[in-house]
Amino acid sequence: MKYMLCIYVDESAQPAAAVDAPHQMSPAFAAYVEALRESGILVGGDRLKPTETATTLRVVDGEAQVLDGPYADTKEQLAGYLVIDVPDIDSALSWAARCPGASRGTLEVRPIWE
């Protein structure tokens, strides 16, 4: 079964990314993604830019409303996601527990419709 691990973290509490390479994952995170890949369960995933770059849109009565900022202004924000293919939810949870994001923030584990 495929599961999406949504990684929520407090952006303000994040360690400042390396100035010269802000797009780079932390070594711990890179190792985690590598372990997923080596185990043959990684389907995909991405890291998102901070919510200050987010734009929100919805159409109300046929008119588009575009707003600066994230969908919900919460303390912890979606910072990235991973999609993994594992036998069951227990296995998904044990992999979620290994994600460095789980020690710093919160992981939401959601099964994907297939």
């Binding site: 070594p27 711990a28 372990a35 939810i89 527990a97 290994r98």
Partner: protein, 413 residues
Amino acid sequence: MEKHNLEARAAAEAAARQSYGKLVAYLCARTHDVAAAEDALSEAFAAALASWPEKGVPERPEAWLMTVARNRSIDVIRHRKTASASMTELEQLFAERQADTGETLPDERLGLMFACAHPAIDAAVRAPLMLQAVLGFDAAAIASAFLVRPAAMGQRLVRAKRRIREAGIPFGVPGRDELPARLDGVLEAIYAAFAEGWSDPAGTETKRRSLAGEGIWLGRLVASLLPEEPEALGLLALMLFAEARRAARRGPAGDYVPLAEQDTALWDARLIEEAEALLRRAGAAGTIGRYQLEAAIQSAHVARRQGGKTDWPAIVVLYDALAALSGSPVVAVNRAVALAEAEGAEAGLRELDRAAEDRRLADYQPFWAARAGLLAQRGDGAAADAAYARAIGLETDEAVRRFLQQRREALRR
């Protein structure tokens, strides 16, 4: 009134902690209905909280709770939960009368534990079931400790209890011929509970830390009720050895400290002595087993506090015996590490390669950390780096992750 209330609440909670399992075990010993016993008991606790603040805490709270719960459980069986939670005047009088007669409860907890760890119960749910039935942990707390969805854990527990009732799983200590095999299930479940608590070395998560404590508590209970069983004593010794080192597992800044670098002054000498005494008592019986061997390995490790040195060849021999008993890949990894200490990195790596034939080790962090360490010793930097990366990616503990990261970076210097 407020003070009274607090007192009553405290008395109910103290009674809950001390006698929960005893009360559940006694109530379901004949009915085999764990869920009904828990329901009855929770109603008895609710009744106590409603009544004690006004009328005062009875002299023997446990007996009071027992009587009310027993009446409730008859009610529950009769009406299947249609009974109201409020207590009639008559019932209360009856409860007080019964509580005054001074009957002591027979301790049926061991029987309950054997039922929870029965071979007909799914092995994965035995430890959770024991934590709930004997100690009163709720499903949500147990689910977090075992990394399972709370709703799913709740369902598994309900299903297991139904199975106990409907499959006629016996309550009680099995006969001599059956005892060793059945006791194994009980000990394994206790150790699983302990290990879940132990895996939070910093003890930052109260829920988990207390799980290690509860495992020891259950271990003490079994050892005291079956004082002649060497494996029951062995398991308790094993848990106490591990617990004795808890404070040394983290540095002042919360950093992970590996066993070899731990400050032995931080080890709890009292617990170590208790564990050593248990292990000696177990050894006197003359039948070796998994827990005695594991405890003996721990004992060899803590011997460092006196001599300053670890007898690695002796530890290898103990692991040999353990591997012959269990054939577990985890044992094979530990054995390889001990062998490397005794005979050098090459010997250890050879053993690890052999162990790696078991595919389960692919996701096992200590396997990769051990491999990385030995490859680094051999001077194989690139392979060590890759193995460290794998270990880091598999670790759940932030402090251990940092520690492995430091080792990995040290390779590049």
